[in-house]
Symmetry: D2
């Protein structure tokens, strides 16, 4: 049986919100393959392309919104990531003026000149790694940079990660893992995009190995079970995600959400949960370049029940 494919029929939205018409309706349990454009909508094609000249006004085109049948505010949307594949054999990274982690930006303003505009075209090598020169090559670990639902009232830029998910740039949004997202509007209005062949934690320069992609997912719903922030379950870990500025606020959110999760679902008393998190958590920076910064907290599933009860 063929998997249904979802391709954006018209313009890609550049916001997460309830104000665009859904492009597809999917039922829980159904498997679909979603095609996504790269972060630049394919406008950067070679090392001589100047980002400041070819880029449109917006970044991170989304595929969506996708209406999930039966989703109601107060539910949790379950997104099993079955497969993520780049749909071409080259990827782009670049330096965009006043964007990234080791430059001043439009929000962290200085009077300095920007870094030079540079473009790198990474190509898939015979050994499966990706490289733009002989100096080093990168092992592919494809994931979706943006994934989320519609906020309740707001329409948020697809450059923004927040409670609804969005541009979190978390490498754990990869095949084999399951992402949990809050449902804020009827139908959830799911969107995704910004496929990365690979990315370091922090996404230092602000631009990963940007590629067009195909992500195969199965949606599910946990009815009447709200979550405030996105969560991920991998075979090894349960994860909470916080996005905020300054970065310590993102970390506090991820940690506090983990304490809350351990209490509400895994029968930890509050202070036992705080101890478990204090003594065993992993705490990694997913991005320090987006409009909010993102931190991921992880606890080994050896500390939770044999299986995470609600995943299926």
């Amino acid at each position: 049986m063929a998997i249904r494919e979802i391709i954006q029929p018209g313009d890609h939205p550049y916001v997460f919100g309830r104000y665009h018409e859904p492009i597809a309706r999917v039922s829980p349990g159904e498997i679909v393959a979603i095609y996504t454009e790269d972060a630049f909508e394919g406008r950067i094609t070679g090392p001589d392309t100047l980002p400041s000249q070819v880029l449109g006004k917006y970044l991170n085109p989304q595929t969506g919104p996708i209406y999930i049948e039966g989703a109601e505010p107060g539910d949790t949307l379950v997104v099993e990531l079955l497969d993520i594949e780049p749909t071409r054999d080259w990827a782009v990274s670049c330096l965009v003026p006043y964007f990234g982690g080791l430059t001043s930006t439009m929000m962290t303003r200085t009077l300095q000149d920007p870094l030079p505009e540079l473009v790198w075209i990474y190509r898939r090598q015979p050994d499966g790694t990706w490289a733009y020169n002989d100096r080093f090559s990168v092992k592919p670990r494809p994931f979706m940079g943006t994934i989320g639902t519609a906020p309740d009232l707001e329409a948020l830029s697809s450059l923004t990660p927040h409670m609804h998910g969005g541009n979190m740039d978390v490498p754990d949004v990869c095949a084999g893992n399951t992402v949990y997202l809050p449902v804020n509007v009827p139908g959830a209005y799911f969107s995704t995009g910004d496929c990365h062949v690979a990315q370091g934690e922090g996404e230092a320069c602000g631009v990963a190995l940007e590629v067009s992609g195909k992500v195969t997912v199965r949606f599910g719903l946990i009815k009447n079970r709200p979550i405030m922030w996105p969560r991920i379950v991998s075979p090894e870990d349960i994860m909470t995600i916080g996005s905020a500025r300054p970065l310590e606020d993102a970390a506090r959110i991820a940690l506090a959400e983990m304490v809350e999760w351990l209490q509400s679902e895994f029968q930890y008393a509050k202070w036992d949960a705080y101890q478990l998190v204090s003594q065993t958590a992993k705490l990694t920076i997913a991005n320090l370049v987006d409009t909010y910064y993102t931190v991921v907290a992880k606890i080994s599933r050896t500390y939770t029940a044999d299986t995470v009860s609600h995943t299926r």
Copy 2:
């Protein structure tokens, strides 16, 4: 041949600085075993101890300063961590009023009441893990919470991590790894303390499994080779460490130091180094509870020369 043991002869210093007299002189190449007190100088002994009543004015007693023969400003001090062992079979964690990551603090002030004062005594279990109840147990991964040299002019609290090292609370300061520290004063004035049986990244509640310890090290010197911030080399990774507030500034320091290191020692061009860091770095939060927060950036040694040239 017996290893020389260094035990604090009098009061422990609670600062990193040049203003205390050295307690020992050690030559590069010599192996010594240093004994350290726990972060509370042993004052918390049971679950009924109230931290606010028994704690002294200062935390994190250091063993030192140790004078390294031949160390001069502009050198790098090499500290090979050969072994780290707790010297007792129980460890303390606790909640100290207005201290920690998920509470307001003296620096992040609110008008709220503090969290309750609670003490947990973790005991070594027959299977080697450490636990205070049946709910969960923690695998030991002992490391030194504080390790550093004297700043040039300042005397900095042993609660502070900064360019000189200090209270970084980085779990990678463990046996098998090598720590590099700047030498700012003749003799370097090395100190260490705050041994942890284990700690989660971020050290969420501010207090790890605090224990007295014995750390066996071999010192070395790289002459006329200054570094600005501490670095670590493990069998797998090279690591840079930044400590600052807000947390994004700590992350920027770690990332920028890594770009600099890749250029100066591993023959990467500047923008290649920025790409390598952007696409492959690990970026973890060591602590978000100390006077400065600490972030560690890691790059796989598969991207550097076969061996890190300067380690021996």
Copy 3:
């Protein structure tokens, strides 16, 4: 001749955005009086009202959007504040759980209990000041807490201050001053609300003397003259406004915008502008409680031309 009055015909929007239908169309030069609800839509009426029980899901109802005839993206909208008057003789302040500057919040998360829920009803006194008890009274200095245009693509919560204006909580948005706002969509889609009888800088507890109000304005347009962030001109000062987190980023934006303004309109060379700002600016915190924090930079008009050329 009577001034046209604008009253919200239906539900108040709780976002700034292009997705609501305009409630009125106004031409440049026309004077209109706009009626606004208080931040709680009038739900808190006495000291025994518990905010957490009576408040709706959203705060800061807006009156708008108002379509400004002829406004096009790239123009600047000029809003002369001719008069601001509370429309009742009592105002509300209160403590909302996990909201404010001296409490942990949903974004600066801790595990502490919230501050108590308290409500204060300030009443206009015979001497014109406002007070809730005999301990102190507050001199009225009414201003609009929220004022702004629609962002381009986003719909942003009316709790958020950003480039479009919004919930800046700047006491200088008062009668006698002129506010400049960017036009991002045809018609500008102006909204305002959140009238304050008075407020301290920083708005420490997060809730000023909240009141329903009537604001009389004259709109103007500066064609083909974009600004990035809101600006204010008073009889004494020119002002730039930045809203961001952390607070230093808001300050940097305000300062950098002032340097830019001095260059582009007042013939200062870049470094002269930086010196003038460094040696003479006022720099005040308008709020440290909203989703972004807001800072105002001021330069005395003695340093600019006799009149600010573009105000009319």
Copy 4:
């Protein structure tokens, strides 16, 4: 009767701490005139001086420490500022590489080039203002950029503002006002320096109108009355000062200290104090360029008793 003059007899200290020998002993009630060097120890003398070439390793030479007879830990040191005068008719401002508010810095690291090194020599004009060219002139409002006591154990750089005072760069440290500082060590170990002819709030470029100066003070002691952070009383206002990063933490400290002060000395109940601060405080940024940023909160003395009881 001649006022005793205090001139640094040897090298100026570049730290606040207990580790330098006092250069003078002064009794409470005595008036002394203290001479201070400029922030660059006079090394920048003309527009062609390159800061990076002539500056020493440290900035902000202090005059001190001065031993205050009878001062004991737990007391408050009272410093009445009777007069502050520049001792020359020219002052220096400049751009120091990677230092200031609108540039990346050693703590907010980027890979960008620094701003150009520029020096401005402001000269006193016949009309009393100070100027370096015809474009604008600055009205003198001389104050001491650094003023403080010794921390308990630490020796802190004279670039650092913290609980002991230090490099706060608060323009209200001017003649006519009284500064209150915590006493942490016997004798208090008072130092001051970094005289500014004038400075904007925020000290945007990091360098005010730096000048050598003479400050005339009368010291006093409030026995057995500790304060945590510096305070100022002017004829109009009482002020609290917080220094921290990020900037919101500095603001929170200033606001929380004001709430505490209103409770402990002016008979406000806690929540009344929070309301008074929320609705009437001024909140200004003194610097966003030093190792910690500094914020000042002000409450009008119309809200306190007729006189601030403890000033004499």
